[in-house]
Symmetry: D3
Subunit: 135 residues, 6 copies
Amino acid sequence: MFYLTRREHFNAAHKLSNPNWTEEQNKTVFGGCANPNWHGHNYTLWVTVKGNVNPETGFVMNMRDLSKVINEQVIKHIDHKNLNLDVPFLQGIMPSTENVAKAIWDQMAPHIEGGILHCVKLQETENIFVEYYGE
Amino acid sequence: MFYLTRREHFNAAHKLSNPNWTEEQNKTVFGGCANPNWHGHNYTLWVTVKGNVNPETGFVMNMRDLSKVINEQVIKHIDHKNLNLDVPFLQGIMPSTENVAKAIWDQMAPHIEGGILHCVKLQETENIFVEYYGE
Amino acid sequence: MFYLTRREHFNAAHKLSNPNWTEEQNKTVFGGCANPNWHGHNYTLWVTVKGNVNPETGFVMNMRDLSKVINEQVIKHIDHKNLNLDVPFLQGIMPSTENVAKAIWDQMAPHIEGGILHCVKLQETENIFVEYYGE
Amino acid sequence: MFYLTRREHFNAAHKLSNPNWTEEQNKTVFGGCANPNWHGHNYTLWVTVKGNVNPETGFVMNMRDLSKVINEQVIKHIDHKNLNLDVPFLQGIMPSTENVAKAIWDQMAPHIEGGILHCVKLQETENIFVEYYGE
Amino acid sequence: MFYLTRREHFNAAHKLSNPNWTEEQNKTVFGGCANPNWHGHNYTLWVTVKGNVNPETGFVMNMRDLSKVINEQVIKHIDHKNLNLDVPFLQGIMPSTENVAKAIWDQMAPHIEGGILHCVKLQETENIFVEYYGE
Amino acid sequence: MFYLTRREHFNAAHKLSNPNWTEEQNKTVFGGCANPNWHGHNYTLWVTVKGNVNPETGFVMNMRDLSKVINEQVIKHIDHKNLNLDVPFLQGIMPSTENVAKAIWDQMAPHIEGGILHCVKLQETENIFVEYYGE
């Protein structure tokens, strides 16, 4: 069993804000992340697939295919966008790093061929990242 | 003469859009950077000061003082903000990396003591950065 | 289940030296790390907490709270210190990367709320790090 | 149980090419990686060993010993070499990242003392890496 | 005057070998870099352009245009290639980092519009890079 | 003219403390850096040499020779040492980043052959570095 990881990037605006709370409550819990006019990040995404090696290719999965799936299913919908407003697969979801990582997992899982989706790791800043393994 | 550099971070939302152009023109020139609902970045900022060493301290300038000036004059106004809407020293300025670097220079220059402001380097993504030397 | 990681930094002096051994034996086993007048490192620390997402916040745990705990329980006692002499929670402990990682775990574990402490990863140089999972 | 990791580097030329396929087929599957005159990479290798701490040293394993084993068993055979032509332990193996990681595992495993080989992680570019755990 | 930098990557095989010398002499001077069957690197390339800001765009030069020129003039000829054998603009040139940096400068300079080519920086490994300013 | 840079590492303990000041004054100016029992860093050192390319080798200077000089003149005296107590070329010098960079310059300059020493860059943490050009 091999664990194969591909890194991709996107950048986006977002804010963290619970619509059932006052602006004051949001500011207390989320700090600057609740700024009404948004802020943003360069996100780094690592997608890990596990599987056995195909003896014809030496690959678990062709990295170009994995990159194509990530770009088709995730990056083109999310890059240079507003996570609260613009992304179909994030509608109604508070765009915390945790929730975005899970939404990326759900978006990717049906499209992995040759291996099994193992981990989605999403880094929001150099100091903060989340790993999600599908359950 | 020594060149002393301090790195700081901020993150922010912005968009690139010339108000005299149609949305179509903006999209042609700025691509995804013109997204109407914004996008964002983790910016990395390097501020370089030059000067001679004070023999009492071994310092051109105390790094804690430099960090305090950067935070007071720049970071607290710009971090977790929208560069087009929220930042007093960017009013009326298209927030390209070039223009933001120059605005940070103008904001910093009067407040450097002990040395002379030499360079503001601003990185927008791992692949793009701008250096400005004050003229 | 989500795995949430926060990175922090500290720097410190230390030496590796078994008090039951001669200086010669210490030098043979520990090399330059046994230098009697100390040496030091910039340590990077990653603390990982696992848990479910709170639907009100989208968070396993508020990163500002996690950062506060790390700073309160670890960083303020260890940053700009001598690991052999100055740190209450390292008294009597040989400050190898392994032992410091475990001591940080013990220091942190009782103070994590909302999630469960999963991993302490401590990097001594770009080439050496240790991970400890609590047993 | 502690997990101790040592990073090393090597650089090498290689190509990906299935000898049972036409050049056209190889180009379709492997793209630029099938370039007949080779291409190359700076590889980064992380070797992780797990074990308990020796109370005399505070170490699972002396990092200098681990580094020596990696250099003796792997780096000196593979650094500044052609992975398809020059490396005894890669004879007859298509040098995909997966296959090279496994070959490094097989090369290392019999020589780890004090701990147990846990993971070989091999990075081919900043965007691609493979982890192998021995089965 | 602003200095604008774009980073790109390529990877390639090469060897360092003076055809007027014996293999022994080459090995003495170039060490592992003279390996007859080649070795290779992940190269990182930074191209810096200087100029004034266009007030319509806030740009010295549109980064997408700069990236397009670098890819058209350099990357597509050099990526996944053998620097000694495959690259038209390196024919007859010993592919040291210095010489490749100069060849990239010569390849780029006639194609920069809006600004002036200022620096080509080429990194061969994390420990070695060359900067060339055109004279 | 080419600018050729070699990166090296060392780690060391130090403290910043003016012997003519009280401990209180030292603490006010130097903060945690005045800790009486020392602290330490992983230092990164970049040495830049400028010169023309030797047509026989394609090199300004053989990087292995440059690395050898840096190791002989600097690293072996300073690595795993106490900068205040153990290093012959730092006797009587307050080991601020500025002063250590200048001392490394003075140590290196007489030993560069083939090129001219251009810059010593010394990084103390990821956030702080100094460049010195010899005057």
